[in-house]
Amino acid sequence: MKLRFNTFNDVVLRYAESDADLKIIRMLDFKNEEEPIDYGQVLRRSSVFAGMLREKGLKPKDRVVIMLPTSSAFVYLFFGTLLAGGIPVPTYPPSTFGNNSVFLSNLRHIFQSSQARFFGSEPRILGSFRETFENFPFLEHVFNASEIDFNSGNPGEMKPAEVRSDDVSLLQYTSGSTGFPKGVVLTHGNLLNNVHAISEAIKINRATDFGVSWLPLFHDMGLIGCLLTALYTATPVALMPTESFMMRPDRWLHNISKYKATISPSPNFGYYLCTRLLNTTRLKGVDLSSWRVALTGAEAIDINVLERFETLLKPYGFSRRAFLPAYGLAESSLAVTIAPLEDNLKVARLNRGKLENDGTAEDYDEEDATLTKIVSVGKPVKGQQAEIHDSEGNRSPDNRVGEIWIKGLSVTSGYFNNPGVTKKSFRQDWFKTGDLGFKRNGDLYITGRIKELIIKRGRNYYPYDIEKALWNIAGIREGRCAAFASWNHAESSEDLVLVIETAKTSSEADLDDLAKSVNAVVLENIGLKPDRIVFIPPKSIPKTSSGKIQRLLCKKLLEEGKLEVFGERR
């Protein structure tokens, strides 16, 4: 692939010469007030942070953990780390109402695994957890972003590090199946190839396009798909805090209208939130007719949600032609496939039974409960390959469900400091995604996944984390509970289902009490409310011969009514 740049350092350095005054980022705050940032400022202010890192003894390839909400400081800390020759490690901040025990234990693992000596954050976070941070392994230097004067000194004196295309440019941490976050290693080349492929797939034109995004920058879709793509293609983007969208979804649409934006992505959850929360009396004057790419990815795509969104916003100029389904994952930098612009919403109407029981995609013409609709996520973007494989590792024919394996220029070489998991995740040079799907005439359709992951409103949760939290409850022990996801059509999201073994002699009041403890413990530790708690007799959770819980089998048995259930709470 012919790239315009070799590294993201080149991107910033060269545009700061050729387009120094181009207001590439419009940073919006919680009041939706704009701060424009041009390429010259990105370089100068990032260089200020780079200089600070150097002064504190940053060595090439040193990791810098960055924990900030969507803000200009995020941009300067991210590129400052790269310019200094370090590796940025963006991580998610604690949620406002959530509990922090899981957050802190995951963060500790991120510091342990990345061995980061540097940490940049903001006063709210640093103030709440100062004592905890002081005990983190490896951590030596903490930067409070709001105390940094990004306009200070003489940033021109900072000599940018010499980096190459195959140097690491990002560690993207994702939670692991055993509860420990794993750092996906991505090089400048990986990211640039993906960003380039995305910009070709959606035909970005810097002269006519404009982006708007509320996606968090510590997540691949916001960071790579929005910020880095904008900087690479010199196409301006307005970035708003995620919470600003969640409190006022109309603001997202107002911003698209105000900037006459052409590109704005969201996971299924964002479109769903609009159908649920949007107050259309607030949409006076909104014109969405400029919106040509409403990319949708990062979680299962529900055609019903997209259609409800379209119906709601058609009077404001929104067109169905804008929806662009995509499939991606952190291990592939971001995008694996994107639907073609000219044939964007291809929906397979399939026989649910054939799909779920036989793993075959067979067309179904009736309008009844057997019908299931699956949206195509399109074809692999340039430089990426995606093929379906059976459990023996053989290539599957069209219309046959199997595991999606990927290979290409944007695919990670593995997990940081984790050769064991890396080895298990690859078969020769193919990365095994753990996602299930089938192909039909070159188009990919996602049907589920092998990996036991729960995706709730765009965020990933791991069953092991949830089960581990349950062991705190008297009467629940390791191996006697299983957590898994089950699709809820009404909510257009996955239900968190917990199956728990308990004595059959338990009274209704005992079950009430147990359910209450379960709810409290899961909320406390995971920040999520279980949707369904199912009680079954001892020793009825299916296990492998080596004693591992078979969560997916348990889910299948429950859904087919083959588990002996003697109590259930919602």
């Binding site: 109402f97 969640m246 929360l277 709810n519 409290a520 406390e524 920040g527 999520l528």
Partner: protein, 78 residues
């Protein structure tokens, strides 16, 4: 909006989102521990209240809001 009216309006939304009858909700109930609201649901609750009051909530001002009474006190200052 009158104080009692405000309280009633907030209780209505809490009841709807927590799926608990308004009569069973107490002012001291913690959103997470007593009402079982996760952070997204809590945010949705505040979004609905701010929408009904037609005011903008500054997200950063929500630090420390934990109970139904906290929300009422917060809304009174808007």
């Amino acid at each position: 909006m009158e104080r009692t009216e405000l309280r009633e309006m907030i209780m209505k939304h809490v009841s709807k989102i927590a799926k608990i009858p308004a009569s069973e909700i107490k002012g001291g109930d913690n959103l997470r521990d007593d009402l079982g609201l996760d952070s997204l649901r809590s945010m949705e609750l505040l979004a609905r209240i701010s929408d009904e009051l037609d005011v903008d909530i500054e997200f950063e001002a929500l630090q420390g809001v934990q109970t139904v009474d906290d929300i009422i006190a917060f809304a009174e200052k808007l």
